[in-house]
C-alpha cells in the first residue's frame, strides 16, 4: 500500500502543473475562452507537445502507455486551473474507446489525436435517457457493406469542434437493453450529420447532433452488439474517475481561494478569517475536500478493475462523495466570499459552476447513491 508516484509520474505532474501555472491563470483563461471554438488551440498544441494527449495510448500506438494514475494527475491539474480544452471528450472518452478499437482504426486515427490535430467526442447521450447508460434509441442497420445511422444525440461534449465522433447506436434489442448497442466511428462532417453547438453553464461547449441516414463503412465498427455496452461502461467509469480527480483539483483551488479571501478580506476592522464561525466552516470544507481526495484515489485505483460490478460500485461511491463535497464546498466558497463570489469577475464562481456541472454529469449524486444502495459487497 503506497501513494508514492514514480519518477515519471512526478515529472508528468510537475510539467503539467508548470505549463498551466504559466499559461492558465484566471486572466489567461478568459482569453482562451474567447478563442474560436471556445477554447485555445494553441494550448491544445502545447498539451500535445508535452505528451498529455498521448497518455492513455499504448506505446505501440505511439502513446505513453499511461493508466488511471497518470490521467488522474493531469485531470487534477486541469481541474485546478479550470482548463476549457476538450481533454475529457478527446483523450478520455473518445480516446478511451478508440484505444480499444481494431488496429486499423487505431492506426488511422490515433496519430492525429496524439499530435493534437484530431479531436474526438463521444456521441452517446440521448434526450430520453437521463442517466441510464444503456438507453439508446438511435438505430443502426446494415445496408450492404455500410452501416446506416439514424437518431439524435444530445449534450455531446465539445461535439461542435470534434473531427470524429464515436457514436453509440442500437443494432437490435429494446431501448434500454444492454445488448445490441454498437460503437461506430463517424466522421463529423459526413453527410447527414447536423451539429448544433452551444455553450454550457461552465463555459465549455457541447452540441446536439442529428444523424440522418448517415452511411458508415463497415471498417468503422469499433465494437459490435455483444461487446459495445461493456466497452462503453468501462470507458464511462474511467471518465468518471478522471472527473473525480478534476473535481478534486477544482475543490482544492476553490478552498484555497476561500481561505486566502478569509485572510485578506477585512470587515469591521479585522480579517473575516478571525471569526471562529467562519474558521469552523472552512475546517469543514477542508474535511470534505480531503474525503473527496481519498475517494478520487479510490476511483483511480478501481478504474482499471475488470469486474464491472465491483468497479461500478466503487466508481459510484466515489461520484457520490465528490458530489456531496462539491456541493458543500462550492456553496460555502460562494457564501464565504459574499457578494464578490456572485460575480463573474472573481474566479470562485467559475469553479462553483464547473463543480455543479460535474455533479450532474455521468449520473448525479442520487443516481450513484442508488447504485451503491442497490448493490451489495464491500467497497
Amino acid at each position: 500500500m503506497d501513494f508514492d508516484l514514480s519518477e515519471e509520474q512526478n515529472l508528468l505532474r510537475q510539467s503539467a502543473e508548470r505549463l498551466l501555472a504559466d499559461q492558465y491563470d484566471f486572466e489567461a483563461r478568459k482569453q482562451h475562452g474567447q478563442d474560436e471554438p471556445g477554447w485555445s488551440r494553441a494550448m491544445w498544441a502545447k498539451f500535445a507537445e508535452l505528451g498529455l494527449l498521448a497518455i492513455p495510448f499504448s506505446e505501440e500506438d505511439g502513446g505513453l502507455g499511461g493508466g488511471p494514475v497518470e490521467l488522474m494527475l493531469v485531470a487534477e491539474a486541469m481541474g485546478a486551473k479550470l482548463t476549457l480544452e476538450p481533454y475529457l471528450p478527446t483523450v478520455i472518452l473518445g480516446g478511451g474507446i478508440l484505444r480499444r478499437a481494431p488496429e486499423s482504426l487505431r492506426q488511422r486515427w490515433l496519430e492525429g489525436v496524439i499530435a493534437g490535430t484530431t479531436l474526438l467526442s463521444l456521441a452517446h447521450a440521448e434526450r430520453q435517457a437521463r442517466f441510464t447508460l444503456s438507453d439508446v434509441a438511435t438505430r443502426v442497420r446494415l445496408d450492404g457493406d455500410h452501416y446506416v445511422l439514424d437518431g439524435d444525440k444530445s449534450l455531446v461534449l465539445a461535439g461542435d469542434s470534434a473531427d470524429a465522433l464515436v457514436v453509440t447506436a442500437r443494432l437490435n434489442g429494446e431501448r434500454r437493453d444492454e445488448g445490441g448497442i454498437v460503437l461506430l466511428l463517424v466522421d463529423a462532417k459526413a453527410e447527414g450529420v447536423t451539429r448544433n453547438g452551444y455553450a454550457t453553464q461552465d463555459g465549455r461547449r457541447a452540441a446536439e447532433i442529428q444523424f440522418r441516414n448517415v452511411r458508415v463503412s463497415q471498417d468503422n465498427l469499433i465494437a459490435g452488439p455483444e461487446t459495445g455496452f461493456a466497452l462503453l461502461q468501462a470507458v464511462t467509469d474511467e471518465a468518471i474517475a478522471a472527473l473525480c480527480a478534476e473535481a478534486v483539483g477544482a475543490m482544492s483551488a476553490i478552498s484555497g481561494l476561500t481561505v486566502e479571501y478569509l485572510k485578506t478580506r477585512k470587515q469591521f476592522g479585522v480579517p473575516i478569517g478571525s471569526f471562529q464561525a467562519l474558521q469552523h466552516r472552512a475546517s469543514d470544507m477542508y474535511v470534505e475536500l480531503e474525503q473527496a481526495r481519498s475517494m478520487a484515489l479510490f476511483a483511480t485505483m478501481m478504474a482499471a478493475e475488470q469486474d464491472a460490478a465491483k468497479r461500478g460500485r466503487a466508481i459510484s461511491a466515489a461520484k457520490v462523495q465528490i458530489g456531496r463535497s462539491a456541493r458543500q464546498i462550492g456553496q460555502e466558497a460562494i457564501q464565504l466570499h459574499g457578494g464578490i463570489g456572485m460575480t463573474m469577475e472573481a474566479a470562485v464562481g467559475h469553479y462553483f459552476k464547473r463543480l455543479t456541472m460535474i455533479e450532474l454529469m455521468f449520473g448525479d449524486t442520487d443516481h450513484h447513491l442508488r447504485r451503491v444502495a442497490e448493490t451489495v459487497g464491500p467497497l
Binding site: S154, L155, Y198, L278, Q335, G339, T343, M344, F352, M357
Partner: protein, 400 residues
C-alpha cells in the same frame, strides 16, 4: 387561538387572486412561470395596473396611496403576487425610498416623488453598498461636500440592482468626515442623468446583468434633494432596512416553485422511465421542503400576529428566522429544480432569453434551472447575510 384566516381575510385573498387572474398579462405570467426574470416592461406595466386599482403601495400612509391594510392583509397581498406569479413591485421605490420619503422627507419631496414612485414613472435604485464594505453598511466613503445650494458627490457604490434602468438613486453619503462611523452620514436623492455619473455592469454567475457599480465624479446634487437632516442619514437607513425585512421569507415564491417542482417531477422521468416523483427518495426530498415551508409560514403568521398586537415599532426577533430559513428554503427549491433538469441543466442558453428561435436543448424550463440555482446563492448573502442573522439571534435574542 385560531391559526386560520378570518372569513374576511379569506374573502380578501380571493379578491386579490381574482384581480390578478383578470389583470395580469398572460405573457408576463408565463415568463415568470418558466423561471425567467420579469422584463422592465413587465414590472412597469404591472405596477401601473396595480396603481390604477389603488394597490400600488398598500403599506404607505393613506394620504400617499396606502390602503390601510393591516399586516395580515399586506402579507396575503404579497403572497398572492408571489405565487401568481406576478412581478413583485420594484422594492427600491415602493419598499425602500418611498417609506423613507413619506416618513422623513419634506412636503415638497413627498409631492415631487411619491406619486411617481407609486406609478413607477421613476425607476429607483439603491446606493448603499460600497466596494469592500460587505455587511458593514455604515462604512461609507462616498463624500458629499456642500457647495452653496448643491452637494458635490464623489465616490463609488456597488451592487446596485437594476441600476441600468434607473432614473433616480438614493444614496448614503458621508457629509462629516470627522464624526465617527455611523454619524456623519446623509441620505441624498440623486438624478441618474446628472453629469458625472457612470454605470458599470457586474455580470453575475448566472450570466445575468442584475447589478452594477455606480461611479460619482463631482456630481452636483441640489441641496433640496437631501432627505431630513444632514448627518442623520444612518437613522433613515436603519428605518429603511427594517422595512426591507417585510416579506423577506418570500414564502409565496417558494410555494410557487414547489408547485412547479411537483408538476415537473411528475412529468420528467427518472432513469428507469417512471416519473421522478414516484422515486420515494425524490418524493421525500420534496416533502422535506414542504414541511420546512409550512413551518416557516406559521412562523411568519406568528410574526404578523405579534406585529398586529404590538404595533410595528418593535422589531420581532423571529424576523431573523424568516430571513435565515426563508433563504435556505428558496435555495433548496432551486437545487431540486436543477436536479429534476439533471443533464439538461448543463446547457447555457442566454440567447434564448433574448428571444431566439433556436429550439431549447432540453425541456423548455430546464435551460434556466442552473442559472436560477446560481442566482439564488445570493439570497443568503444580501439583505444581511445569514451569518449576520445568526449573530443577531445570538446577541439580541439569546444574549450571548
Amino acid at each position: 387561538m385560531d391559526l386560520r384566516f378570518t372569513d374576511e381575510e379569506v374573502a380578501f385573498r380571493q379578491e386579490v387572486r381574482d384581480f390578478i387572474a383578470t389583470n395580469l398579462p398572460a405573457e408576463t405570467r408565463e415568463r415568470l412561470q418558466s423561471g425567467h426574470h420579469p422584463t422592465r416592461d413587465d414590472i412597469v406595466n404591472w405596477q401601473r395596473i396595480l396603481n390604477e386599482k389603488g394597490w400600488a403601495v398598500p403599506h404607505w400612509p393613506e394620504e400617499w396611496g396606502g390602503t390601510g391594510w393591516g399586516p395580515v392583509k399586506q402579507y396575503i397581498f404579497r403572497e398572492e403576487l408571489q405565487s401568481a406569479p406576478a412581478p413583485e413591485p420594484l422594492a427600491f421605490g415602493v419598499y425602500m425610498v418611498g417609506p423613507v420619503i413619506a416618513e422623513y422627507g419634506s412636503e415638497e419631496q413627498k409631492k415631487r416623488f411619491l406619486p411617481r414612485i407609486a406609478n413607477l414613472d421613476d425607476w429607483w435604485c439603491q446606493g448603499f453598498s460600497e466596494p469592500g464594505a460587505g455587511s458593514d453598511l455604515a462604512s461609507v466613503r462616498t463624500t458629499a461636500v456642500r457647495d452653496g445650494d448643491h452637494y458635490i458627490v464623489n465616490g463609488q457604490k456597488t451592487w446596485t440592482t437594476l441600476g441600468q434602468y434607473a432614473d433616480w438613486i438614493f444614496c448614503l453619503v458621508r457629509t462629516d468626515k470627522e464624526a465617527k462611523k455611523q454619524s456623519g452620514i446623509s441620505f441624498l436623492l440623486i438624478d441618474m442623468k446628472s453629469p458625472g455619473i457612470t454605470l458599470r455592469p457586474i455580470v453575475t454567475i448566472d450570466g445575468g446583468r442584475e447589478v452594477n457599480e455606480v461611479f460619482f465624479d463631482d456630481v452636483r446634487v441640489p441641496a433640496d434633494q437631501l432627505v431630513g437632516e444632514e448627518n442623520r442619514g444612518w437613522d433613515y437607513a436603519k428605518f429603511l432596512l427594517s422595512n426591507e425585512r417585510v416579506g423577506i421569507a418570500r414564502i409565496g415564491v417558494s410555494k410557487e416553485r414547489l408547485r412547479r417542482i411537483r408538476e415537473l417531477s411528475a412529468s420528467e422521468h427518472a432513469s428507469d422511465g417512471t416519473p421522478l416523483i414516484s422515486d420515494p427518495r425524490f418524493a421525500e426530498k420534496i416533502a422535506e421542503v414542504e414541511i420546512d415551508l409550512k413551518a416557516l409560514e406559521i412562523t411568519q403568521m406568528r410574526v404578523l400576529a405579534a406585529e398586529r398586537a404590538e404595533g410595528k415599532g418593535k422589531p420581532n426577533p423571529l424576523s431573523s428566522i424568516l430571513k435565515l430559513k426563508g433563504s435556505q428554503i428558496q435555495q433548496r427549491t432551486t437545487e431540486l429544480l436543477m436536479e429534476i433538469a439533471g443533464p439538461y441543466a448543463l446547457a447555457y442558453e442566454p440567447e434564448r432569453e433574448e428571444g431566439s428561435n433556436e429550439p431549447p436543448i432540453g425541456p423548455e424550463w430546464a435551460g434556466l434551472s442552473a442559472s436560477t440555482y446560481f442566482n439564488a446563492r445570493k439570497v443568503s448573502i444580501y439583505g444581511g447575510s445569514n451569518e449576520i442573522q445568526r449573530n443577531i439571534i445570538a446577541k439580541a435574542i439569546l444574549g450571548l
